[in-house]
């Protein structure tokens, strides 16, 4: 499974995902939208991410989602397909993308939960289709991890992690 095995994301795939996020952003009148994988790694974003630290955001949002999955199971639900967090000025809707990724939409009073939900429902199958294709494709050849790269990385580890 792609989300669990070693996997790669190609520039073309990312461009397609970015295009989908960009149209979602305007249709749903979002502040920003972020895409991350189920293990908490940030993939890409659109909109005003400003001060938001995407690495931290991705790690916490994946944990949030994973915890709710467990809560769902306690209630006898297979999972909660989306999560909503309401704030005073901004709110957030998180949704599962085919069990492989998480889409987060952050919006303020320029939009409404109803609109965001509606647009998200239309978007999710398209994003899931990109992920499914990525999963089916063999990993791109000519990765960076040849022996020379590994030797250089080991040197960098020694240099950086010297306490």
């Amino acid at each position: 499974m792609m989300a669990d095995g070693q996997w790669a994301i190609a520039a073309e795939d990312l461009a397609r995902l970015d295009a989908l996020l960009a149209s979602f952003l305007s249709e749903a009148r979002l502040r920003c939208a972020l895409l991350l994988d189920r293990t908490g790694r940030f993939l890409t974003a659109a909109g005003e991410t400003g001060e938001l630290d995407p690495t931290t955001f991705a790690s916490l949002a994946a944990a949030d989602f994973a915890a709710s999955d467990q809560l769902a199971q306690l209630l006898g639900e297979a999972d909660f397909s989306s999560l909503y967090h309401a704030g005073e000025r901004q709110s957030m809707l998180l949704a599962d993308v085919g069990g492989q990724a998480i889409l987060a939409a952050i919006f303020d009073d320029r939009s409404t939960l109803g609109l965001v939900r509606l647009q998200m429902r239309a978007l999710l199958p398209q994003v899931a289709a990109v992920f499914a294709e990525m999963g089916d494709r063999a990993p791109a050849p000519g990765g960076p991890l040849d022996p020379a790269w590994l030797a250089a990385a080991a040197d960098e580890i020694d240099r950086l992690f010297n306490g």
Binding site: W7, I9, A15, R38, G40, L60, P144, A152, A153
Partner: protein, 192 residues
Amino acid sequence: MSMINYASREINCKLVYYGPGLGGKTTNLEYIYERVNPETRGKLISLATEQERTLFFDFLPVDLGEIRGFKTRFHLYTVPGQVYYNASRRLILKGVDGIVFVADSQPERMDANIASMHNLYENLAEYGYDPRTLPIVLQYNKRDLPNALPIAELREQINPDHLPEFEATAVEGEGVFDTLKAVSKLVLKSLG
């Protein structure tokens, strides 16, 4: 597990610090956070209870510099050690690329070390991860304590498979970076 992003030219690896409660996992991350070049690390996030015990995880991202056009990023996580938090431990193992098992050298914690090691193998099996191919290193922590067990005894009890092992006094930082270096090199090697 690891993810290579050819668009942003980034390699992401997940390292998890595992082990019994109060063994020193959070202390390892705090020391790394303090000592690593601030430009290479992100925020240290701790989801902890009021008693400062890890509730869900600690998280620290650390970047290696750019190597031949690719940036490598290690995501360091700790798990909560308390027995009753197994659901969170399992969640954090999802997509793991390498593990540091932090053992507590005190004799009264030996049972907890063993139980936690069993729990790790069980949780890995649940995901279908093979502990024989997944990089795992062992850290014998709290070597400063006068009652610390001899290494030979610890090894016999919790390292029958001869995993790479390190002595540490995480509160003073001793052994912390040696352990991190070892696991991160093993992880990159496992990708190649």
